[in-house]
């Protein structure tokens, strides 16, 4: 397991650095914007925008996890497809499904750890100007966006590992159709009731790249 993580780290570290910097920079920018807003308008108006209009103030961040997930998926699996290098992994003396799962676990862990400092920054900043309810609501608002990153990651991996173009197109369509639903509403709390379904769906999407890799192995 460590070895696969080591390989993935060496392979993708420059991309991970890029994604981390992008997350952090965007979070910082969002925080600065919040600071600016809090300076420009009186606090009651800013709170009112949250309480009555459901403003989260962090909408700048929304598409970043999606792109991060896409980029990481490509950074991890495109090199595995050049000359069908994935064969090297599948030939390693560990179970094939386990080997692919390790790759995906690395991606998941990366996406989580990349988002973590950004979330922490945004949470801490939110607590400076807002009560905890806002900060928690803000995190819940960010949750579908973060999930979209995982979804994009699983789907990009599945699409890349998939051999047949028809299946690839199908996967892309499904991914686009679903991920759009993660960006329907911006107001705080509106995703509360569907978040659990989205989490379940994203978790279930884990199986797609694994099945794609098994089809890859069988050469179909």
């Amino acid at each position: 397991m460590k070895a696969i993580f080591y390989k993935e780290w060496i392979k993708t570290r420059s991309y991970i650095a890029l994604i981390t910097v992008a997350h952090f920079a965007m979070a910082l920018y969002a925080v600065l914007k919040l600071r600016y807003i809090s300076g420009q308008y009186d606090a009651v108006s800013v709170w009112s925008a949250w309480i009555y209009k459901g403003y989260s103030f962090y909408s700048l961040y929304q598409y970043l996890p999606l792109f991060g997930g896409l980029l990481l998926g490509c950074a991890q699996f495109m090199p595995e497809l050049r000359d069908r290098r994935l064969r090297l992994v599948l030939h390693l003396p560990i179970g094939e499904r386990r080997a692919v799962t390790m790759h995906l676990a690395f991606g998941l862990a990366t996406l989580l750890s990349v988002a973590f400092p950004a979330l922490l920054l945004m949470y801490s900043a939110a607590r400076v100007w807002f009560p905890p309810e806002f900060a928690v609501g803000m995190l819940l608002t960010l949750a579908p966006w973060i999930l979209s990153g995982f979804g994009a990651y699983f789907f990009s991996a599945a699409v890349l590992l998939e051999g047949r173009w028809t299946r690839r197109i199908l996967l892309v369509l499904v991914a686009a159709g679903v991920l759009r639903l993660f960006f329907q509403e911006l107001s705080i709390g509106s995703y509360e009731r569907v978040l659990a379904y989205f989490i379940l769906w994203t978790a279930a999407a884990f199986c797609l790249p694994i099945m794609s890799s098994e089809r890859f192995r069988k050469g179909c």
Binding site: A43, E133, G137
Partner: protein, 362 residues
């Protein structure tokens, strides 16, 4: 795993089709269906209606005969008072009342309750206005009241609790036996409202309280104690799910209490008179409720895509007349009948009736 991933993909694809196909279909084939405006004419003692067509507007009198706009306006003299006075058409007497524009406009009220207003993410932070600031206009307070497990005033500018003020109000509530945690708190945060009614709150035991701030001091009231014994007994039996506060100029309607089974009660008058609105098919999760008032009547309108129900009442909310009409809507249109075959399943995440996204299957 293989079976699971197959089921997962097929299921996802089906969900997407059930979501996107109907929305694309209706983007193509949806017609425009507008509910009629049905009003109670005290002059004619019945319902009159106005329907917007493509080119012209169709006005009908109580007998259902087509009339022109002037005649229609004349049937609703309180509503069109400004127009009638301007045209010099205002009668000298309306149902025994000598019309006075100021009085008419003062007594006009309008309360609207939409499903999405009752079901939306609302942070438990509410402004408690200064109800007797001595100023003409209300000013947004600098702090927000969080009334739940505890009572705290959060000062927005410092993002901290005003302990002194919180303690003052906490004590005031304790004194009238308000038991934390509060089950439900409702108020109207609009600064442009006519006056401040304060916040209504249900305590842990389900007792209804009114919390106000007058010259910085708490002014709290146990509603049951302030109303007649009969109403208090009635109030104790209510299973209140929502409270709607929309201050009106005449200060008659104080709050709407909506029960879990969608029964609507009105708290009105200085003595918190409790009156039931005798609606027949209201469902707060589905229907829009409007309550219009003038010098003589209250008219409640319940509307959804399928039907409209109008109930005319006197000023004491006693029913006078009732009107019902099935409405034309898209599912009854030809496109709708085709859709029922073509699209057996429609799945929406936002059905316009909630501030939350949900999974709505049709």
């Amino acid at each position: 795993m293989k079976t699971f991933s197959r089921i997962f993909l097929v299921f996802t694809a089906l969900v997407l089709l059930a979501h996107y196909l109907p929305s694309a279909y209706w983007m193509l084939f949806s017609g425009r269906y507008r509910a009629p405006y049905v009003a109670y004419s005290c002059v004619a003692g019945g319902f009159v209606s106005m329907r917007h067509g493509g080119e012209s507007t169709d006005y009908r009198n109580v007998a259902g005969e087509r009339i022109n706009r002037d005649a229609f306006e004349q049937l609703l003299p309180f509503q069109y008072a400004g127009q009638l006075i301007t045209d010099g058409r205002m009668p000298a007497e309306i149902c025994g009342i000598v019309p006075d524009y100021n009085k008419i406009s003062m007594e006009r009220s309008f309360v609207k309750v939409e499903p999405s207003m009752l079901d939306m993410p609302t942070p438990n932070f509410r402004p408690l206005f200064e109800a007797q600031s001595g100023r003409l206009e209300l000013e947004a307070p600098k702090d927000f009241l969080r009334l739940g497990k505890d009572l705290e005033f959060f000062v927005a500018a410092s993002n901290s609790v005003d302990e002194a003020k919180s303690a003052l109000f906490r004590q005031a509530l304790e004194d009238i036996k308000f038991r934390m945690p509060a089950k439900l708190v409702a108020g109207n945060p609009d600064t442009r409202k006519a006056y401040d009614e304060g916040l209504y709150a249900l305590d842990a035991d389900g007792n209804l309280f009114l919390i106000m701030q007058k010259r910085g001091q708490p002014f709290v009231e146990n509603i049951a104690a302030s109303m007649s014994a009969e109403d208090a007994a009635q109030l104790a039996t209510l299973n209140i799910r929502h409270i709607v506060v929309q201050e009106q100029k005449n200060r008659d309607i104080r709050a709407l209490l909506i029960e879990a089974d969608s029964t609507v009660w009105i708290l009105h008058g200085a003595g918190f008179v409790l009156s039931r609105i005798e609606l027949q098919g209201y469902d707060y999760a589905r229907d829009e409720l409007m309550l219009r008032g003038d010098m003589l009547n209250y008219v409640a309108t319940v509307r959804n895509e399928d039907r409209i129900e109008v109930l005319a009442m006197d000023r004491n909310f006693e029913p006078l007349a009732r009107y019902g009409e099935e409405l034309m809507n898209r599912s009854k249109s030809r496109a709708g009948r085709v859709a029922a075959y073509l699209l057996p399943l429609a799945l929406e995440f936002d059905n316009g009736k909630s501030g939350y996204l949900g999974i709505h299957i049709d």
